[in-house]
Structures are given as structure tokens and as C-alpha cells.
Amino acid sequence: MAKNKKAGWDGFSLKPRKEMPEGLWLSCPSCKNMLYKKTVDENLSVCPECRHHFRIDGPTRVRQLVDEGSLEELAQDLASSDPLAFVWGEQAYKNRIKADPDANSAHEAVLVGKAFIRGRGVILAAMDFSFLGGSMGMVVGEKFCRGVDRAIAENLPLVVVSCSGGARMHEGVVALQQMAKTSAALARLDEAGGLYISVLTDPTTGGVAASFSMLGDVIIAEPKALIGFTGPRVIQQTIKIELPEGFQRAEFLVEHGFVDMIVERKDLRSEIGRLIDYCGK
């Protein structure tokens, strides 16, 4: 792992990369100001100086979004069966899931539940980047679909907050097929006339972008969130040109017609409530 650390975070390692380091102070990656961590936390993890939206984990997202105490978590008792028995060198995917000391990992890479947002009942799925880069494997797919089932059964709007690097490599084609599985479940929701609000946060790429994230009836993005199919580094390596400023950022997607609106974190609750009212749910 020493090698991994040196070369930078690999996007799949279980060690969560914290954008917000431990300690009292942190430096904003955007405006470089030194910020008091508590102030940032109280500001929904948004830089008070430049409005940089820090990445937040699933539980934090839920805490910020739903009416206090209203979450009933669904399908939380699920873990990957490691279908490929994936091993590389001395390491095994299975062991790394088990050994994860991060308490959040009990949610896997998505937290699904029934909750209220400004008094409106919803089925909510919040992805957690701190678990294997928010990657989608069998657990994410299964939890997502069970959430969709509940949304159909109880005629509730579905709100999904994406934050993911894509499909989980360690589960091979099983992970790849979760793209089809989640999209197929959304087709059922669509046929049932259900409302689906998709919220894209930094980052939403790969197999998650190319499946349920992009299928919202309404698609919202947080400011400057990275959204795309292929990550910018891979594109740069492949076609070897300098990428344009703002490429694959939320504003870029609005400009090209793939996102309905950009909403700041502080307004997310009220905007979702508004949309639900408009759609008569």
C-alpha cells in the first residue's frame, strides 16, 4: 500500500480520502483560504468565502437534507458476496471490505431510506464516496432497486444524491450489470408515474453517470460538480489535448443541455420540496 499512497489515491482504495482533514483548521482547495473547520461544518460543508462545496459522506448528506429524525433506513443489512472472489497480489477485495475501520462502511456506498424533506415523504438514496469511491457494486444496485420498489409501492417521489466514481471494478460484470438493473427499475418507476429527482454531486462519473444518475425526471447538480462518463484524466491521457476550462463541471452540463438546474447546498431542501409540489406528489 505504500506504493499506492505515493502515487496518490487510486479511486478504489478503501481508505477514505478526506477532503476535510482532521484538526481545527483546513484550507479551501478552491480559494486557498484557511478556514475554521467548525464554521465550514455549520455552513453545510460549504466554504463561506468562495462557496466551494466540500464533498460530504452519506450520513452527513442525509442529516443536511431530511427533516430531523425522519429517516428510516431501508435494506441496510446488505454486504457484497464478492462474486468474483477478487484478489490481486497478496490482497483480497473481501478482506478489505471486512477490515474497513470506518464506521460509515456499514452503509456500503449508498444509504437508502424513507424520510421527509420539508414535510414531504420521499424515498432517499445518498451515495457515500468515502466507501470505495462511492462505487456501484451489487449492494448499491440492490439497495437502489429496493428503494425504487418502495417508491412505487407507496407512491413516493424518489430522490437520489449521486457521488461516485462509477462501477466497482472488484465485482466485474456483476457491477457493470447494476447499471442495467438500476435503469430497468427506473423504467418501472416511470411507468408507475413516479417522480424521480436526481441530484448530481462531485463527482458523478462512469457507470453511475451512465445509468441512474442521468435518468432523473428532473436533474439537479451542485455547483462545479464534476459530471461525465470518462474522467478528465483518462480523456487527457487518451486524446492528449488540454481540456477546456470548466470541462465536465455542472455549469458545462447545463450549457450542453444535460442538467436542469444548479442548486447550492443551502437551497437543496427547499428546491426539492418545490419540485415535488409542482409534480403533484
Binding site: 502515487a7 429524525g69 428510516e72 471486512k98 462502511s105 456483476v174 450489470q177 442495467a180 442521468m214 435518468l215
Partner: protein
């Protein structure tokens, strides 16, 4: 298929075929000598002996291939590509161009055609033969307009009750600036959703490379088959190696870990069938390869056409929902992990939700 055919097509050998190449050279030499001595009729016993030896060797190599060798065969420059299938496996083909929106992506070809006695909509990923064609086809890497064209033609097929046949062969969807500007992710996502509920039979076959989301974008159907020496993977072995070992040359090890061969995928129930290839791979005998694929498709189309469409669409959905539904209970790991902190939840609700969840799980 005989050695003669191999010689006539100036076969390119893969790195693990050195001994085969050497035998070919020896056979060729003997043959020349044979001609020089102006001998008529049957090949000499020496030649025949070498041919037998070579067949045995091919058999041995191709039945004990490593996953990385399979990837190499799947990428063989002389492997039959979509245009070969279009020309030789389908009859009375009418190519339909364009997505009616942006352009005509040559990496995905859509056409009306006949296979056996069945009229179908053909959707296939094309890599191109010569360099000019390869560039036009973007080496089989589709842009969003390719996926949108595929969907438009599938909708056309749905309207007129034509079954859809998709032939998959792509390293992946194109990673370019234009592709991102035009919504590569959205194009693939919409295809997944719409193919899952398309009201005509859909048969998919991986004929070469099944490169991740780019393959899946035309790969949701009622039947999923893969040619023996093809692969289907969530990420390229090189890409996986770059992540795990920070070294693309570890691709053979990554190929092993990814379980990307037909045999492995069949074991995992991710494909319905592995279509066998002639001895020495599809590139040594296009005719027999196409015959095997055609047999698979016609047999399954006949079956699917007898099934009521509602049953078919429900089965398609159930099959997708079944993939990865066999999760383990997380509580198995919980002891070592410690209790998760869930925000804003009351202890009683916690218990109720957990109880409900368990009953849900049991009901699955």
C-alpha cells in the same frame, strides 16, 4: 479448415503461437520442395505428419488459454468483425443511417436484414478493416450519436414487431471531449432503460471485445451470449492493472482477476451461452464462426418469438433484478466494524426499520 487456408490469408500470429508459426514455416518449406521436385498428387507423409502435430498443438493451446490470451484473441486484427457478419450472416441488408439529431456514428451500424427466415433489426459495433475504415469507425468506440441511433432504430423495430439482434465488439465508448459535450453518459443510460422494456425480443452476442458501459449500451436483452474467445469486462485489463498495480503491463494478472472470459461469465450466470469457435479461434475460420453464431441466434429467436411479449419483458426485468441480488447480510461483518452511526434516527425507529428490513430480505 485446413492449413492451406491459413497460408492463403497470411495469418498473423499471437505471441503465444510461436510454435504454430514455426510449424507453418516448415510445412510451407516442404510444400515448396514438393513443387520443386514436381511431384504430383497427395502431400507427402512428412507434410501430413506436421499438420497433425500442428492440429494437436492448436488444440492444446486453445483449450488451455489464460484470460489474457483470450483478450489477445478477442483483439486479433484478423478476427471477424461486424461488417463480416453483416455481409455473410445476414441477407438482404438495408443499412439505416443517422440518429436524426446530430449525425451518423460509424462505430455503430444499424440495419434491417434477414437471418435464417427471420426479419430483424441489426445493431452492431464495427471496428473497420483497413486503417481508413478504422479511423472512420473510430476503432469501434461509439460516440453518443451511435447509441442514440441504435435506440432510434430499436424503437422502429418495436413499432413494427421486428426482433433486435445486437453484435457487441468495442473496446469501450469513446473518451473524447465531443462525446462528453454531447452526453455520452446520458445516451448510454437511456439505452439501458429503454432496452429493458423494449417490446420485441432482443438477442445480444459479444463477438469480440465487450468493453464496459460501451458494450452494455447495446447489450440489454432476453439472451446474452458470448463467443468462446471473446471477453466482457467492467474495465479493460490495462485500466484495471493501472489502478491496482500502477502498471499497465500487469494486464495479464488483471485479466485473471476480472473473470472476463465466457467460461467464467457462464459460471457467474452473467451470460446464457458460450458459442464455440473453430479450432485456433474465429480468425482461422470465419465461415464456421458465423455459422455457429447464426445457429445460436436463429434458435433463440424462434424460442423468444413463441413467448408472449409481456412474459418476455417481465422475464428480462426479473433476470436483471436477479444479478447481484444475492448479497450477504452486512451483520456478518458488523462485529469487526462497530456500529454505524445513522443520522437523525431514533433508537426505536432504528429497531423497527431493522425488523422490517429483515422481513423484506426474507421475502426476496
Amino acid at each position: 479448415m485446413t492449413i492451406k487456408d491459413i497460408k492463403n490469408t497470411a495469418l498473423q500470429y499471437l505471441p503465444f503461437e510461436n510454435e504454430i508459426a514455426e510449424l507453418d514455416r516448415q510445412i510451407e518449406e516442404l510444400r515448396k520442395q514438393h513443387l520443386r521436385d514436381s511431384l504430383q498428387g497427395e502431400a507427402s507423409p512428412a507434410i501430413r505428419a506436421l499438420q497433425v502435430k500442428q492440429t494437436d498443438l492448436l488444440q492444446q493451446i486453445y483449450t488451455t488459454m489464460t484470460p489474457w490470451q483470450t483478450v489477445q484473441v478477442a483483439r486479433h486484427p484478423q478476427r471477424p468483425i461486424f461488417s463480416d457478419y453483416l455481409k455473410n450472416m445476414f441477407k438482404d441488408v438495408r443499412i439505416l443511417h443517422g440518429d436524426r439529431c446530430f449525425g451518423d456514428d460509424r462505430a455503430i451500424v444499424t440495419a434491417l436484414g434477414q437471418i435464417g427466415r427471420e426479419k430483424v433489426m441489426i445493431i452492431g459495433q464495427n471496428k473497420g478493416k483497413d486503417i481508413k475504415e478504422k479511423i472512420a469507425c473510430n476503432f469501434g468506440c461509439p460516440n453518443p450519436e451511435g447509441y442514440r441511433k441504435a435506440l432510434a432504430k430499436m424503437k422502429l423495430a418495436e413499432k413494427f414487431g421486428l426482433p433486435v439482434v445486437t453484435l457487441i465488439d468495442t473496446p469501450g465508448a469513446y473518451p473524447g471531449v465531443g462525446a462528453e459535450e454531447r452526453g455520452q453518459a446520458q445516451a448510454i443510460a437511456v439505452n439501458l432503460m429503454e432496452m429493458s422494456r423494449l417490446r420485441v425480443p432482443v438477442v445480444c452476442v459479444v463477438i469480440g471485445e465487450g468493453g464496459s458501459g460501451g458494450a452494455l449500451g447495446i447489450g440489454v436483452g432476453d439472451r446474452m451470449a458470448i463467443l468462446e474467445h471473446s471477453y466482457y469486462s467492467v474495465i479493460s485489463p490495462e485500466g484495471c492493472a493501472a489502478i491496482l498495480w500502477h502498471d499497465g503491463t500487469q494486464a495479464p494478472r488483471a485479466a485473471e482477476a476480472l473473470k472476463l472470459t465466457g467460461r467464467e461469465l457462464l459460471k457467474l450466470k452473467l451470460v446464457d451461452a458460450v458459442i464455440s469457435e473453430p479450432l485456433g479461434g474465429a480468425h482461422r475460420n470465419m465461415h464456421d464462426t458465423l455459422y455457429n453464431v447464426e445457429q445460436y441466434i436463429t434458435k433463440n429467436l424462434a424460442q423468444l418469438k413463441r413467448t408472449p411479449i409481456d412474459t418476455l419483458v417481465n422475464a428480462r426485468y426479473a433476470r436483471l433484478r436477479g444479478i447481484g441480488a444475492d448479497c450477504l447480510p452486512a451483520s456478518a461483518f458488523a462485529a469487526r466494524r462497530g456500529k454505524a452511526k445513522t443520522p437523525g434516527r431514533l433508537p426505536l425507529k432504528d429497531k423497527l426499520a431493522a425488523a422490517r428490513d429483515l422481513s423484506e430480505t426474507a421475502a426476496q
